[in-house]
Amino acid sequence: MFRNQYDTDVTTWSPAGRLHQVEYAMEAVKQGSAAIGLRSKTHVVLATVNKASSELSSYQKKLFKIDNHIGIAMAGLTADGRVLSRYMRSECVTHNFVYESPLPVGRLVVQVADKAQVCTQRSWKRPYGVGLLVAGLDETGPHLYQNCPSGNYFEFHAFAIGSRSQAAKTYLERKFESFMDCSKVELVRHALHAVKESLQEEELSSANCGVAIVGIGEPFVILDSKSLQAYIDSLEEGKNDQAAKLEVEEEGNAAVIERQDISGGAGVGVGAEGEGPTDMET
């Protein structure tokens, strides 16, 4: 994995036509704890695995509100992520000031991607070490995007990044076709199930995960631990629609949720948690 000669500089190509520094930056994203996103016709939900570096500390904040209609979840170097979210907030505020209307999320994503690309083509810079899942609205409805350190961006129905994201992706790949018509509650439940897959052995609780929602007519909000715990509890109860009683602002959805039977998880017993060598990444 250690490619000697051509990986010192981001501006040096390898003979195989690769920029190793950019790939190493994407590796940093893979080492961070998972972030998951999924969307329906009306809402986008972001969920994160919150990992505290020790029992005494709190976990790193990975969900950020960018504007009333846009929010992000990050995986990787959260310090880089904070800088990007400050840039994104500034762009949204400036756009609002000039045009009296919200910046379409797709355009913001491209601006972030172009900013990241600059760092892959300057010898005195390094790529951002953070991957973003950007959830937001524009005139055409809700969208979910991923921003990479490489400067690429992609749109998704559902996606997961970070460590053990493959387990979550497997769950999402099985279920994503039904997401478009899901209600908000169903969508959050799917997100929590996906987080559960990434957590593997650990019990899902409001202490080790975070959820945020944005929707048409509903500003971006990060769920507080009480509401989150209520959603988690409702996963167990499955058959009855507990969700209608959960959120005070919930419009009340009478649909019955099919009980999700989660097997013990695709993973085997966990020894190492797949952490990177430094504690910078979360």
Partner: protein, 273 residues
């Protein structure tokens, strides 16, 4: 206050505060030296960025909302001081597919605004992502532009009327040269504020048909032609609906100069001579 009808004082700019010795008229086009030096040089100095007066101006623009959209109206005249110099100037412009812009005041500044808006719309179009700048965004953009220039004491000497339709909603607003901006059901610039808006206040209704709205505008434009010396009998109307913007070919209205009030206009003005 609407300064768009400010008449340019003359061809040779000279400073009001200068003494007769300094006020040597320069018969060339390049700018003369600063006010405290009476000799002129062949070295051109930087252009003045302190706009004092407009030179070629358009008169009123009218705007009304109606049932299916928004109408803007203006004549096609551009005056050079008291001379009606150009008679085929289009003072209405389509901005994208959702908005129409009408301008009174300095025509060159209107042309500069059009250049900027063309770039804005082109950039927006190139995104090709299902989002586009609507009347709200254009109105606010123009406000920021006008106010920004005003703060530099270098205004774009225009009063702008912005009408548009997006997602079924009609929008009609104004931005002035000092950055005052507002929206309303019917608007006007310059003389139109004094002559047309009282008629709008009496006769405008939200559910007017296209024909009724055009008739109302024509009535007001006729009054303006009678009473505003910078106006001519050659008009255009811009119609903005959900389907897009359409600007009519110029046309004239029937006038009647045999009103009794026109016969002896000074009859009521009693004076001592």
């Amino acid at each position: 206050m609407d300064f768009s009808n400010f008449q340019a004082p003359g061809m040779y700019p000279y400073h009001a505060s200068s003494s007769s010795k300094q006020a040597e008229k320069s018969y060339v086009d390049h700018p003369i030296m600063g006010p405290h030096n009476s000799s002129f040089t062949l070295m051109p100095e930087a252009p003045s960025k302190h706009t004092k007066y407009p030179y070629v101006t358009g008169t009123s623009v009218l705007g009304v909302k109606y049932k299916d959209g928004v109408l803007l109206a203006s004549d096609t005249a551009a005056s050079y001081g008291s001379t009606v110099r150009y008679k085929s100037v289009q003072r209405l412009k389509a901005v994208g597919k959702t908005t129409a812009l009408g301008a009174s005041g300095e025509i060159s500044d209107f042309q500069a605004i059009n250049e900027l808006l063309d770039q804005l719309i082109t950039n927006d179009y190139m995104w090709d992502d299902g989002n586009n700048l609507g009347p709200v965004e254009i109105h606010n953009y123009l406000n920021r532009l006008m106010y920004g220039r005003r703060n530099k004491f270098d205004p774009l000497w225009n009063s702008l009327v912005l009408g548009g339709v997006k997602n079924g909603q009609q929008y009609l607003g104004v931005v002035t040269m000092i950055g005052v901006h507002y929206v309303d059901d019917h608007v006007a610039t310059g003389f139109g504020n004094h002559l047309a808006r009282p008629i709008f206040r009496d006769e405008w209704r939200a559910d007017m048909t296209h024909e009724e709205a055009v008739a109302l505008l024509e009535k007001c434009m006729l009054v303006l032609f009678y009473r505003d010396r910078s106006a001519i009998n050659k008009f255009q109307i811009a119609n903005v609906t959900e389907a897009g913007v359409h600007i009519s070919e110029p046309y004239a209205l029937q006038t009647n100069w045999s009103y009794k009030a026109f016969e002896n206009p000074t009859a009521g003005a009693v004076g001592s001579w």
